[in-house]
């Protein structure tokens, strides 16, 4: 079957009152963004309060659907057959052949749902329903009508052209990117942070990201891996501004001046500070981490509290109650998992103590940090030397 358009169904946008147009515009923008690399020519437009993607002949159906499935805000994608209005008899023939081709295994129940926005059409919606239903029954004897719980709802929309559709491919749901401001993702090379970014982006939040690398302890490949992860998340979230911070000197300085067991927690506090600096500078409204309670020593409730204490922006932790298995499931779904498990050292694991503190007290940590007399200078240098990569 050749489809000429996709009707885009969206959920929560519909209820946003006067902001509706803003949500729809964001949706249209994001659809255009994901389709720019798809083979084919597309016209994305809003008509009668609905969003359509019209496709020129010769587009790649599978690729188009895959791309649309990555657009947050879409709850359903309906492939549409568009017909010229050549009279009702012709329409009957087309509908019968549509049903035959779409459902070759004909033992099913159906219902015709006609809508008539072209009010000059000579038949009412009810009349169209009845006549088309009859025509289908006449040609496909095994099909039965069920108006309450049909297997197939055949939608027939009569406008300048006639639109037929009956299938709904589920979309990802959520809200269109850019409708809820932006946030700064702390992106490591691990499994969790890309998933965390994905989840917040799904609520319509545009992303920026910060990655800390520590050459020579981490390699160019580790950085490339993070760029790859950002690129994969960007397939859903749109372009991501990635800040790559050289963290080596800060890390070594903390290692030198503070108790080894506190290294990770103090490091993380400085990571948050630096990420927050970029977040504030770029007008982000929050920060995102992939933390999950108790997963590692630095993610106990006490550690999270101590890390959190340095931030003034809200820190969103969408995975906070997730088990590793659940996180991996999403990582596999969004195809970040394989990249995440590549074995490159990241800067959190280099000097990790055998027994890091698991119940840090804020006062004690702050006491330890008093030894870091030069740290402000190092932080300043790290910020100044940060490399920015626009990931698309």
């Amino acid at each position: 079957m050749e489809f000429h358009s996709f009707l885009i169904k969206y959920g929560e946008i519909g209820i946003k009152g006067k902001n509706r147009f803003m949500f729809e515009d964001a949706l249209v923008r994001q659809i255009r963004f994901v389709l720019k690399d798809v083979e084919g020519k597309f016209l994305v437009h809003k008509t009668y309060g609905r969003v359509y993607v019209d496709c020129e002949d010769g587009y790649d159906y599978e690729e188009t659907v895959e791309a649309l499935k990555r657009v947050f805000g879409i709850v359903g994608i309906c492939p549409v057959v568009r017909l010229d209005d050549k009279g009702f008899e012709e329409l009957k023939k087309e509908v019968v052949s549509y049903m035959g081709e779409m459902y070759p295994n004909k033992d099913l129940t159906f219902k015709v749902e006609a809508r008539r926005s072209k009010k000059t059409y000579p038949m009412t919606s009810m009349e169209i329903n009845a006549a088309l239903g009859e025509a289908i029954l006449g040609s496909h004897a095994e099909m039965k009508v069920d108006v309450h719980k049909p297997d197939v709802r055949l939608n027939v929309e009569v406008r300048e052209e006639i639109y037929l559709y009956s299938e709904i491919i589920p979309g990802p749901g959520g809200m269109p990117i850019g409708t809820n401001g932006s946030a700064m993702l702390l992106l490591s090379g691990g499994i969790d942070s890309p998933v965390a970014g994905y989840m917040i982006a799904k609520r319509g939040v545009a992303l920026e990201a910060t990655y800390f690398h520590a050459p020579p302890y981490t390699s160019e490949r580790a950085k490339e891996k993070v760029v790859d992860l950002a690129r994969q998340v960007a397939k859903y979230a749109g372009p991501i501004k990635l800040h790559v911070v050289n963290f080596t000197d800060i890390q070594l300085y903390i290692y030198e001046k503070c108790p080894h067991a506190e290294l990770t927690i103090i490091m993380r506090r400085y990571m948050m500070k630096i990420a927050e600096h970029f977040a504030t500078a770029d007008g982000c409204l929050g920060m995102i981490t992939g933390e999950s309670i108790g997963q590692v020593a630095s993610q106990t409730m006490q550690s999270l509290a101590v890390t959190n204490a340095v931030c003034t922006l809200p820190v969103y932790r969408p995975l906070i109650g997730f088990d590793k298995r659940d996180i991996v499931d999403i990582a596999e779904k969004i195809e970040t998992y394989e990249t995440s498990i590549l074995p490159f050292e990241d800067c959190c694991t280099i000097f990790v103590a055998k027994h890091p503190v698991t119940r840090p007290e804020l006062a004690r940590i702050e006491e330890s940090e008093k030894n870091l007399e030069k740290i402000e200078e190092l932080v300043k240098t790290a910020i100044e030397t940060t490399e920015v990569i626009d990931v698309k």
Binding site: P215, P216, Y217, T218, S219, E220, L252, Y255, E256, H260, P343, E345, I350, F351, V352, K354
Partner: protein, 384 residues
């Protein structure tokens, strides 16, 4: 300053080779199997390369089979011969420190029902010939011993090994993986009793994706890829004419004044070794005398993980490798270092410096200076 000391991973192409490859690719692009003039022209390049290679090895032109590189040559030699000679026996012998192209092919042959003996090496990284004598049996059909080990640079007693094998039974085939030896040594298979020899183009300043297998005309072999029956049906597939032409020229160029080049590399190696010995808690794996390759130096530097030192050198423009580059993507500890009994502190703290004819004394001095600077700094911060 950029210092490339990873020539055992790959080498820079000779510019002349690059130009030739480009010319053949874009101008003389015919298919050597075509009947017209363009095809004949292409065939000339292949014959030219064969001529050059056979002269270097002192073998017949028809005994050169072109492949996609060292790995394919090894696969063809081992799998092709094991299958073709199965009726004579099912026992194969190799060493424990071969390149993965040999080791993993042998493992595959084990799954196909062959029995494989992996010979141990001594502390210098040389195969134990006594063990070879003990391993030979009526069932043995093939012995493969590498020419130069790629990780520590030990030169294997290939001539002695071949002599032992042929003395035991002249029918047993002897193969050598000479990927690291070809271009550094004059190797004459016919004199040494070598029936098959693998070599690669990109280790001798030639193009990647090229290599050859010297195959003594009397060796029975079966193809491992099937197709248009090119190269006497030993290796189907349209010949990589630009690559083959480049490989031939690179071989000729690297063997020009080889003695002078090798002597220079030996001097540099001695200079480097002397410099490195001034750093505390370091060791040089394998031998340093004539029984070690002129271009490979494997240095253990205790207390710094090799990856960290590698990246620290990289920051200064010095490119080296940790263990063997081919296997470095999975950070398993080197089997070769274990095999030669290197002490534990060096297992994940060893770098391989590998030179080429283009390496200069200035580059070596710069590398030493950088090491003197980096090593104490990095040793200060260790995981504990």
């Amino acid at each position: 300053m950029e210092v490339y000391l990873d020539n055992s991973a790959t080498t820079a192409c000779y510019p002349e080779v690059g130009e030739l490859v480009y010319k053949v690719m874009c101008r003389d692009y015919g298919n050597p199997s075509s009947m017209h003039k363009k095809g004949v022209e292409a065939e000339h390049y292949i014959r030219g390369a064969k001529e050059r290679l056979s002269k270097i090895l002192k073998v017949k032109e028809k005994e050169i089979v072109f492949t996609s590189g060292g790995t394919e040559s090894d696969n063809l030699a081992l799998r092709g011969c094991a299958r073709a000679n199965r009726r004579s026996g099912n026992h194969l012998i190799t060493t424990g420190i071969e390149h993965p192209a040999i080791l993993n092919t042998m493992r595959h042959l084990e799954e196909e029902g062959f029995r494989v003996t992996y010979l141990p090496v001594d502390a210098a990284g040389r195969v134990k010939l006594e063990a070879l004598k003990e391993a030979l049996c009526d069932e043995t059909i093939l012995v493969s011993v590498m020419y130069v080990n790629n990780e520590v640079g030990s030169v294997q007693p290939v001539a002695e090994a071949a002599k032992i094998v042929k003395g035991y039974n002249p029918q047993i085939l002897f193969h050598t993986d000479a990927v690291q030896g070809f271009g550094k040594y004059n190797i004459y298979p016919k004199r040494l009793g070598i029936d098959m020899l693998s070599a690669s183009g990109h280790k001798i300043h030639g193009p990647k994706g090229t290599g050859f297998l010297y195959l003594d005309e009397k060796v029975k072999i079966l193809p491992i890829v099937f197709g248009g029956e090119q190269q006497k049906n030993i290796r189907s597939g349209t010949e990589n004419v630009p690559g083959i032409a480049g490989l031939g020229l690179a071989a000729e160029m690297i063997y020009r004044d080889l003695d002078v080049k090798v002597a220079l590399m030996r001097d540099l190696k001695a200079h480097f070794l002397e410099g490195v010995s001034k750093i505390e808690h370091t060791t040089v794996h394998g031998l340093t005398d004539e029984n070690s390759a002129p271009h490979i130096i494997s240095v253990g530097i205790a207390g710094i993980r090799s990856e960290v030192l590698l990246h620290a050198l990289e920051e200064k423009g010095i490119y080296v490798s940790s263990g063997s580059a081919c296997a470095s993507n999975h950070p398993a500890v080197s089997g070769v270092l274990k095999g030669i009994g290197a002490s534990k502190e060096y297992l994940d703290a060893t770098l391989r410096f590998s030179m080429s004819e283009f390496t200069t004394k200035e580059e070596i001095d710069y590398t030493l200076e950088t090491l003197y600077d980096c090593v104490p700094k990095l040793r200060k911060y260790t995981r504990h």
